[in-house]
């Protein structure tokens, strides 16, 4: 069998750390970067006699996410104990949700690929459940002992579990990115992958094309970048196919990705898989969410990326690709919308071009976030308007942009004036230049009159040169055409 005979099947489990101020079951702070154990209270360190009390903010964020993926919000959900022993889990169990999660049966439609090859893919989301994070083990040597920092213990997480709907690493990355955009868009997670706020586990299996049963999967744990997600899946798929083609079998296992070597490594096999012995946590009553609360959360949701994308294509006339880029973050989308609001919807396309072109390149090069851009949306709008009404050329607009970027000027019209960028559009001023060009280039004139349209460009070029670029090329073209055909 050759490679094309295999189909890849991927499902993702994503842990999104929620943006609450306090922990999921205690009033300790969740702020990042505190000294070890300064934010681990008696509940977080599991002192006997303490009891968990659920954070309303964590539930509210779960509802937000559920609504954003068009899922069912469970009227009643239950917290369960997931039992295992590890020193960074002082209770000996993690409080999670098992049989009755707070969110189930959602879906998200994502754009995969670019240009001609781009297509839409809907990934079903089986469930999203609330749970607490564990602490951190530090294995550096403390006289042969392990150090435990419990600041992270009890931090609220939403585990978002997809169906095995993805068929390539590219689809998995597109889905993970879309979810990453979405959680930040609706403000439930800051998405900081370096700090571990958004962690991805990938379940990967392969099967012969046409087979409907799933192959044996291996779970790649704790991927903290989209690049690693891609690399880990690519490696894993290659490994599984090679193993099967050589007559071997894939054993169900949990593996880790080693970014330095670019390969996955077995962490534990099915034989020593954990037996978590889930059972309902007697310390916590069922979580009941009423319709009124759901509707209140719904009314506070912003327009979602998918809906906005559709609007940008249908009402603003953008390509799906540009619409996808502009909705990569709420900040970028808001910036674009503010520019279009000021410029007018008819100028949406040039606004998008400036933002995705010049501005994106400059931001990228200088490592500045869109929110800190010295060039504001109103600047983009004024720039686009001045190009549109013929006041400045595209080359002139680039100079204005430069002045705005460096802070040399704050006002588009003032910069145009200060730098003398205004194009000469006045007919009487242009007429003598046009006449001179016609007189000096009889050959081009003849060619144009003989039907060669291109000859006109040569004449326009002559006028532009004579005006040192100050003439409005559109006006010059009109004037030349009128004089030569009239």
């Amino acid at each position: 069998m050759n490679r094309t005979d295999w189909e890849t099947v991927i499902g993702l489990e994503i842990h999104a750390q929620l943006t609450t101020r306090s922990k999921i079951f205690s009033g300790a702070s969740t702020a990042f970067g505190a000294e070890p154990n300064r934010q681990a209270c008696a509940i977080d360190v599991a002192l006997p006699g303490t009891l968990p009390v659920l954070n309303r903010g964590a539930v509210e964020r779960a509802i937000r996410l559920g609504l954003a993926i068009e899922a069912e919000i469970a009227e009643r959900s239950v917290f369960a104990r997931k039992n295992y022993f590890y020193p960074d889990l002082p209770k000996g169990y993690q409080i999670s949700q098992y049989e009755l999660p707070v969110v189930k049966n959602g879906a998200i439609t994502v754009q995969v690929g670019e240009g001609e090859a781009a297509y839409e893919k809907t990934v079903r989301i089986t469930r999203a459940h609330l749970e607490e994070d564990a602490g951190k083990s530090l294995h550096e040597d403390f006289h042969g002992m392990t150090g435990i920092d419990l600041n992270r213990a009890g931090t609220p997480l939403l585990e978002i579990v997809s169906e095995p709907d993805m068929r390539s690493a590219e689809e998995a990355v597109a889905y993970a990115r879309a979810l990453h955009t979405l959680v930040r868009w609706i403000g439930v997670c800051d998405g900081n992958m370096q700090e571990g706020s958004f962690r991805i586990d990938a379940n990967v299996s392969v099967r012969p094309k046409g087979e409907t049963r799933l192959g044996t999967r291996r779970e790649i744990k704790n991927l903290n970048s989209f690049r690693f997600l891609q690399q880990a899946i690519d490696y894993e798929v290659r490994w599984q196919i090679e193993t099967l083609e050589e007559g071997g079998t894939v054993q169900q296992a949990t593996v880790l990705f080693d970014p330095e070597r670019g390969e996955t490594r077995v962490m534990r096999t099915k034989e020593d898989a954990h037996d978590y012995r889930y059972f309902p946590d007697p310390d916590l009553l069922p979580l009941v969410i009423d319709r009124a609360w759901i509707e209140e959360v719904r009314s506070n949701l912003p327009e979602l990326p998918q809906a906005l994308r559709r609007r940008l294509v249908e009402a603003h006339g953008l390509t799906p690709y540009d619409a996808n880029l502009l909705t990569a973050s709420k900040e970028l989308a808001d910036y674009y919308l503010a520019a279009v609001a000021a410029a007018g919807q008819a100028l949406a396309k040039p606004c998008a071009n400036w933002i995705l072109g010049e501005l994106a390149a400059r931001l990228n090069r200088s490592g500045i976030e869109i929110g800190e851009s010295p060039v504001r949306p109103t600047h983009i709008a004024a720039l686009v308007q001045r190009v549109h009404d013929g006041t400045i050329s595209h080359a002139g607009a680039k100079k204005v942009f430069e002045a705005l970027w460096t802070g040399e000027g704050q006002d588009v019209d003032a910069i145009i004036e200060a730098q003398g960028l205004e194009q000469v559009s006045d007919e009487s001023a242009l007429e003598s230049l046009v006449d001179a060009a016609i007189a000096a280039n009889p050959k081009s004139v003849e060619e144009f009159r003989a039907g060669k349209e291109k000859a006109l460009n040569a004449l326009v070029g002559q006028v532009m040169k004579a005006s040192r670029g100050a003439a409005n090329p559109q006006r010059v073209t009109e004037l030349l055409r009128r004089k030569l055909t009239g």
Partner: protein, 93 residues
């Protein structure tokens, strides 16, 4: 009644069993399972599974930081601590 895999249960609970205590545990667990069998025998058709004996919803707290830093007091309870960390025997899984 299903066979009791006492070694597996002890391993999951991280409990070391002596032959004497093993016999006592086995007897206890057999009694627990017998009780469960009696419960299983009840016809519960149409009864929604119960996750908690109290028929009440969970009360929620507002998302406010209410705890102050008690690190030193809590670390003092631990058998070993250093540099603000709890120290435990080396565990690498």
């Amino acid at each position: 009644m299903p066979a009791i895999d006492l070694d597996r249960i002890a391993e999951l609970a991280r409990i070391e069993l002596t032959p004497d205590s093993a016999a006592a545990f086995r007897a206890d667990l057999e009694r627990v399972l017998a009780l469960v069998d009696r419960l299983q025998a009840v016809d519960a058709t149409g009864v929604a599974p119960m996750s908690h004996p109290l028929d009440l919803p969970q009360r929620l707290r507002e998302d406010i930081v209410t705890e102050s830093d008690q690190r030193d007091a809590l670390l003092a309870l631990a058998p070993a601590a250093e540099n603000g960390l709890y120290l435990v025997p080396k565990v690498i899984e």
